[in-house]
Amino acid sequence: MGEFYDDKAQVQDAAFAERVAASLRAPERAHPSFEKRLMEKVLIEGRVLYKTAAASPNNSWWRTEWIIRISPRGGVAIAAGIAALIAVSSVLGSRISARSQQPSVTVAPARDTVQLVRFVFVDSGASTVALVGDFNEWTRGATQLKRSGAPGVWTVSVPLTPGRHEYAFIVNGSRWVADPLAVKSSDDFGTESSVIRIASAGKSET
């Protein structure tokens, strides 16, 4: 390259390039919402990547297996949300039906401090279901549930740190639904939310 692109040619190109580049060097501003949109994602992922990593140096939460915890609710015609601990790589559909017949709470022995919690919501009339809670700063739309194989069943998995977490579901973009099977909590305005507790020893309770 060097022998074909001599200094003189480089100088000529540099002079031309300078004229062209001058206007291209004008500053550009990121969109005003750029940081906000980015940080919403960062805060959600960061809890797993860094905040929890500090508490669990071996970073092996994803290898930990958890037994599903689901409470049955026969005859519930309206929406029902169920928080469940499940195996990270499990297939949900079959486990729902299997575990739903068992009202007992089963907790797997813990080997780490972060638990992947699968939230299950059942409502055949829902077109969208979102999960809001202290773990996602109560950000509407930050954690969307997806349809599972079973009709009307919506699920999402969220890594939660040990401690008490409040949450609720938002159905069809506007209807606030607290988990009917979980402990309730009300804010100053009487809005009910649900409570799930993640114990560092692997025990959970709602």
């Binding site: 060097g2 300078e18 062209v20 206007s23 291209l24 550009e28 994602k41 500090a54």
Partner: protein, 205 residues
């Protein structure tokens, strides 16, 4: 661990990048340490510090603010996820720039695929930069240049922007792109040749 934000920025990733670091706060290394220690929000300091500079490159590279925004969201997330692999936190800017360059390449490829599916008005663009065209008469030189730039092959556009707009040295370019210095020089030369042809009417040769 909350970062102290009262100290003037001391971003020494690269000098000309540091010149864009008008955000007051801690150094890049301190912000990164804070994130790794669990202060996730400290990452916003890095976002504020670099978002505009990265936006300029991405917009010029992709010719679309929408695509640039998407590419940068993706690039910053990749940087966030891989923060532990930033071996020299004091050179975070350069490390981030590598990611941005790669992400823009990916998006440029997507643009090409999209254009195959939905052909753009290429003839209109060519008319816009052609000598004697009506569009030329509006003396929108900046617009001409951006359109001409968009018509260069991706690798030439990237090399030209890094050399003459971001004003990197060839060694820095080689480090960031993984392309050899001679190859980069060739790309810049071809870019200049291409731009000279496309802008002949604008600059009267």
């Amino acid at each position: 661990m909350k970062p102290t934000r009262a100290v003037e920025a001391n971003c020494d990733a690269r000098d000309n990048w540091a010149s864009h670091s008008l955000v007051t706060g801690t150094s890049d290394a301190e912000l990164i340490a804070a994130v790794l220690a669990g202060d996730i929000e400290a990452f916003s300091g890095l976002v504020r510090r670099y978002q505009d500079t990265c936006t300029r490159f991405a917009v010029r590279m992709l010719g679309s603010r929408v695509d640039a925004d998407d590419a940068l969201q993706s690039a910053f997330m990749r940087a966030f996820r891989g923060l532990r692999s930033c071996k020299d936190p004091n050179r975070f800017g350069g490390w981030l720039y590598q990611i941005v360059i790669n992400e823009c390449r990916t998006y440029a490829t997507r643009q090409r695929r999209r254009e195959l599916r939905f052909p753009p008005a290429t003839e209109a663009i060519e008319r816009a930069v052609a000598p004697g065209s009506e569009a030329e008469a509006d003396k929108d030189v900046g617009g001409h240049i951006e359109r001409a730039l968009s018509m260069l092959p991706t690798e030439q556009r990237e090399a030209f922007l890094l050399k003459h707009v971001e004003e990197l040295s060839y060694d820095e370019m080689a480090e960031m792109t993984g392309v050899s210095v001679p190859a980069l020089k060739m790309r810049v030369k071809r870019a200049c040749d291409g731009l000279r042809d496309l802008l002949e009417g604008v600059y009267n040769g």
